[in-house]
């Protein structure tokens, strides 16, 4: 009898003990919640990862999403609060550029991805051209093979595709490689002095083989709307054919045939803007050996050292992924505060008139 009683007592104590433990747990949890509310959580001292970049104002589509002079204040606003992009924004609307980037299935993730993450978003429209379609990236499939000998085929088909689908969406049509870094703002400044109705194209001008010269493929080149129309037309009428696999030379020959002028892309003090190599190769005297082909190819007198490159450079080539981001940082982020740059080029006349007109029309605040 006492044994049963004993077990009864024991089980009751066990039960009590368990209940006690539950109470302990509940009390602990409730109290810790209370404390965390009262004391508030310590703020993360890490700089907030920025979700929006003010330079990401332009979507991949037809510039519909362009935020004119508007800043996304969730972005790293304080660094760019002193920044006024009115002129750049104005040029974005005035000088519409469609960029197409020559790439391939093997390079979408390796190279094209970094183009997409950096300068491509500043084009009014950007297309990645590959031999096969990739809906996810997205990349247009040109239905060619891959390889250096296919470059001219890809170029012809790419321009045809752009002509057939996007002719009216842009004024200028830029070709670049997936290892070219392009500064669109400077390209717009260069092109703003010309009309898209002119039969002209710009790039880094080389002199051999073609009387008026031709443009380096890797440094990128840009065709006016008229030039694009004539180029595509020339293949329909067989004025031009796939005469060689050397893309830039063959294109240059065709341009000459169809009377599209090889333009002078140098800045107002004669410095080159399109560059076939990375800055280091141009800036360092003696980097490119004197026997290198480059010295004999340049249409204008080639310069090494600081005189090589315009402050308003448009492109660099053989840019690896790391250097893409470095250039992006140097051009669009890092700057010397308060520094009065030596080279102060004028605004294009028509843009200047427009902006002063806009200010006149504004109500005095």
């Amino acid at each position: 009898m006492s044994e049963i009683h004993f077990w009864e007592m024991a089980s009751k104590s066990w039960l009590n003990f368990l209940i006690f433990l539950c109470g302990l747990a509940v009390g602990f949890v409730l109290c810790s919640q209370l404390f965390s509310i009262l004391l508030g959580e310590q703020d993360d001292t890490q700089p907030k990862i920025l979700h929006n970049d003010p330079h990401d104002g332009h979507s991949d589509d037809n510039g519909e999403y362009h935020l004119k002079g508007q800043m996304d204040f969730n972005a790293d606003a304080s660094q760019h609060k002193d920044e006024n992009t009115d002129i750049a924004d104005n040029l974005y609307e005035k000088v519409k550029i469609l960029c197409w980037v020559m790439t391939g299935p093997q390079n979408l993730e390796k190279k094209a991805k970094h183009v997409k993450a950096t300068w491509a978003k500043r084009c009014n429209k950007v297309l990645f051209m590959s031999s096969e379609e990739d809906k996810a990236f997205p990349a247009v499939g040109l239905e060619t093979r891959e390889g250096r000998d296919q470059l001219y085929w890809k170029t012809i088909k790419a321009f045809q595709y752009v002509h057939d689908h996007y002719l009216e969406d842009a004024d200028w049509f830029m070709k670049a490689d997936d290892d070219t870094y392009v500064i669109l703002d400077n390209l717009r400044w260069l092109l703003s002095k010309h009309s898209p109705e002119e039969p002209i194209y710009f790039g880094r001008r080389f002199k051999p083989y073609v009387k008026q010269g031709y443009m380096s493929g890797g440094a990128g080149y840009v065709l006016s709307k008229e030039a694009l129309k004539r180029f595509v037309d020339a293949f329909k009428t067989e004025k031009c054919t796939h005469s060689s696999s050397i893309e830039d030379l063959a294109l240059g020959r065709c341009m000459e045939t169809i009377n599209v002028e090889a333009g002078d892309s140098r800045d107002t003090i004669g410095k080159e803007t399109f560059h076939p190599f990375v800055p280091e190769h141009h800036l360092i005297k003696g980097f490119l050996p004197k026997t290198f082909w480059y010295w004999n190819y340049n249409y204008y007198p080639p310069v090494e050292g600081p005189g090589c490159c315009s402050d308003l450079a448009v492109s660099f080539h053989y840019v690896d992924p790391t250097t893409m981001y470095e250039l992006e940082y140097l051009v669009y982020h890092l700057r010397p505060y308060g520094y009065l740059y030596r080279y102060q080029p004028a605004l294009p006349e028509n843009i200047r008139k427009e902006i002063s007109q806009a200010y006149k029309n504004e109500d005095p605040k």
């Binding site: 509940v26 992009t85 600081p306 470095e326 505060y337």
Partner: protein, 327 residues
């Protein structure tokens, strides 16, 4: 009878529960208090021991009048000390041709006389002795001409304009000792690889102590050598000057001991969707670990290459140096 025993059981059960709750709450309170003090200290040790000096915000700057801005730009006089050794000669050449042209005055202090370049001979191979002598030389000669003293190694690239911007509103009569600050045990020190900034007041205090070996010994470490930047921190600490980490308005370091390329590579690995945003400050003052070629590229990238149509209204104005073709 049954009911009574039932309620009795319930009563004992609920009292156990309540007792448990009370004990749990007390435990929790104790642990939270202890933990908070511990964590609080921990945070303090890792983040707030260095009193973080922040760069001024735009709002603060707009309060300065036009005239004041011109005066201000000229009021920053930065003297640059670059400590070099013969093996550094190619970096020395690059540094000489690039960023040091933007110091109000820059002088090279070498361990020994070098044929190719002019320098002030410290006649010692020991970095700490070189540093001491350089600071003494600079203070004795230039105390009335410069109010900020920036010391760097030739592997560092500096943007003096951004240094001046950062120093805006900082009173040099206060003892400032700034740069990329690190904690080593008990000692906060500024890493020489990111560059060291001293205000004139700190220079004054340091120079007073240089002649007191107990306060500022020439022979820091007893068993093994202590790096010169730590030795400097010890002396300055004895002079009542504490190291401070310099950051921009977003908390990013502006003095860097790594190169841009290294930051980018790290960001590509760790934050692949925010590589440039996560990299470095727009107002960075220094990067370190550059090759001579990279110095020339930085010169072009910082002082020349830019995007047309992006205009900045800055509170200070700095003119390009005379007789220079790469900026």
């Amino acid at each position: 009878m049954h009911f009574k025993s039932h309620s009795g059981k319930m009563l004992s059960e609920s009292s156990s529960f309540l007792k448990g709750m009370m004990l749990g709450s007390i435990f929790c309170a104790l642990i939270t208090m202890l933990g908070h003090i511990k964590i609080g200290n921990g945070n303090k040790m890792y983040h707030h021991e260095h009193h973080h000096l922040q760069a001024p915000n735009k709002e603060d700057i707009l309060k300065i009048s036009e005239k004041e801005r011109m005066e201000l730009s000229k009021s920053f006089r930065v003297y640059c000390i670059i400590l070099v050794k013969p093996k550094d000669v190619s970096l020395w050449a690059a540094v000489k041709e690039t960023w040091t042209k933007h110091c109000d005055k820059a002088e090279f202090f070498s361990s020994e006389k070098v044929k190719v370049f002019e320098s002030i001979n410290m006649e010692t191979d020991d970095m700490w002795l070189m540093m001491r002598k350089a600071y003494k030389y600079a203070f004795d000669k230039y105390r009335d001409h410069y109010n900020w003293f920036f010391l760097a190694r030739p592997s560092t690239f500096a943007i003096i304009e951004n240094l001046k911007y950062f120093l805006l509103r900082k009173d040099p009569s206060q003892p400032f000792y700034l740069g990329h600050a690190i904690k080593s045990g008990d000692l906060d020190y500024v890493n020489v690889e990111g560059g060291i900034v001293l205000s004139i007041e700190s220079m004054k205090r340091l120079n007073k102590l240089l002649s007191f070996p107990e306060k500022c010994s020439e022979q820091g470490g007893m068993i093994w050598k202590i790096s010169e930047d730590k030795q400097l921190a010890v002396c300055l600490k004895n002079a009542g000057v504490r190291a401070e980490n310099a950051e921009d308005s977003q908390g990013k370091d502006i003095f860097n001991t790594k190169s841009v390329g290294l930051f980018i590579k790290e960001a590509m690995a760790n934050k692949p969707n925010q590589v440039v945003e996560g990299c470095c400050s727009d107002m960075a003052v220094t990067f370190n670990g550059l090759t001579p070629n990279q110095m020339h590229v930085m010169m072009y990238g910082v002082y020349r290459l830019r995007a047309f149509g992006h205009i900045f209204t800055d509170a200070l104005v700095f003119l390009p140096p005379n007789v220079s073709d790469n900026d």
